[in-house]
Amino acid sequence: MSNTPPKHIAIIGSGPSGCFVAQSLQRAWKDSEITVFDRFAVPYGLIRYGVAADHQHTKAITRQFDRMFADGSVRFAGNVEIGTDISLAQLRERFDLVILASGRWRDRHLSVPGSSLKGVIPSGDIINALNAVPRPSIPLPEIGERVVVVGAGNVAIDMVRFLVKTAADYAGSDVAPGALEQYLAAPASAITVLSRSPIATAKADVAMVKELGKIAGVRYTFANSSPATEDNALGRKREDAFAALAEIEVDEPRAHVHFVFGAEPSKVTGAGKVEQVHLGAAPVGEASVIPADTVISAIGFDANAPGHLNYAEEFDFTPAEESGKVDEGLYRVGWLKRGPVGAIPANRADSNVVAKEILAAAESGELTASLDRGGFESLPESLRAQSVSFAAWQKIDAAETAAAETDRIRTKLLDHEAMLDIAHS
């Protein structure tokens, strides 16, 4: 007995998890029609809008997905926001299978006294500006010369790299020129990075730490609370990486970055704006008050941040490692399923697992194609007309590439409407 697998499949979100699950299902069900929706006019979610602009090599993964969309085996439909342009319920009436891959990324906010003072900035605001997130487009916050970065994961290291790089260090990137120019007009010279955990258990990848050492003109120092145990090979590698950073000799450094491990801010003080960061605990010999005009928090993401799950409030989106099933014919993958942790490859593994679960459900007859459901073609004409196809995105892509300044690979459009104008021209 063989059941008819779902014919019309909708995936909400074109980040890595949405694309990976599309790839898996397309391979298994050659005759199905898969549409990947995104609220942005452009595909790839955080690969385009989260991964640092100076890490183009990480973004290379999109070439797999380009191919999938370009050869027509999967349809891209940008500029369609589920919950605003069409409800999830309506979508489910028209598609045999709906997979939610809308991610979730809201910064976890610093919550010590004084954290609402002017000058306390969540890293997300900076990342959005540098990556030219268009919907809405928010300018780069003002950053002073004495900066405290709270956190020591990869995003915190992304922040440090941004704070110490010069214009020349952005060759080959697609950083937003206006935001970069604004910052580089008066860059930070004293940067303190606070990590709650010792180096041994800090979250930054060793490669990310080593990369800092390649930026010329920066002096690095660090204080550590407790050394890695003998058997913690990775912790010891990370310690070696920091030791190597501190050994770099620099004449007349532009900037000094001091990492303090085993330190946490207890409060931020100042008259109306940030002036000092007070430490609750710190390794011996470290100052307990740091003069600062800016605090950037990079302390992870809030899995339960309200807001963008409003399109499906009736369901429970508590992070889960197990099943991706939300309801009959409704599944979730990636950061929306597991919570905002893990890099791009982790989403592939997750998407493959959920795809298997879906294939099994189809095999058992739980999921089938229904003649009542017409898929993308049955959506209202106006919705189809507003959507941005892959070919239309390629027009945006071409415009961005053509607008690239010398030594940059593209200049991203900052405005959603401007993208739509090009897409629909």
Binding site: Q23, H57, A60, R63, Q64, R67, V206, I344, P345, R348
Partner: protein, 157 residues
């Protein structure tokens, strides 16, 4: 000539290459494609020509889907002389010190067990803007030619 294309991957690039090579090979040969995580060291046979596509993760380490295989392969003991293979490694020159080392772990063990690597060691660099499959498809014909010139199973070269 029977080909087995094996891949180890974490973000899918090697799988895509393996599928493309598999498809290309099937035009004129018998070819199967498998994930290393579904392959056992005992399965290596002189009757097949192996093309191994494998990326690099961590710090010069193997990708997730190759790890369980490699763990078994490391302690696997057998005489694999007679087994011929070609290697295509993926990596990223951004990781200067560990560039493309993932596949080399498998290559090393195969050599230790007496297998013979044929042709040029293929490489793809994620920092280049070359499409992984394009690079691999360009690399393939010379490998196929060399593989075809080998005398069949168990023979001498």
């Amino acid at each position: 000539m029977k080909f087995t294309v094996l891949y180890g991957t974490e973000s899918g690039n090697s799988e895509l290459i393996a599928q493309d090579l598999g498809q290309k090979l099937q035009e004129e040969h018998e070819a199967t494609v498998a994930d290393l995580q579904d392959f056992e060291p005992e399965q290596f046979s002189a009757e097949q020509f192996y093309i191994i596509i494998c990326s690099t993760h961590g710090e010069g380490e193997l990708p997730n889907t190759a790890l369980p295989f490699y763990e078994k392969f490391e302690s696997f003991e057998a005489d694999l002389s007679g087994v011929n293979y070609a290697m295509f490694g993926l990596g990223d020159t951004f990781y200067e010190e560990t560039y493309s080392q993932g596949s080399e772990h498998i290559d090393r063990r195969l050599t230790e067990l007496g297998a013979t690597r044929i042709g040029e060691y293929g490489r793809h660099d994620a920092s280049s803007w070359d499409l992984p499959s394009d690079v691999a498809l360009e690399w393939l014909p010379a490998i196929v030619e060399e593989a075809a010139s080998l005398t069949p199973a168990g023979g001498t070269q």
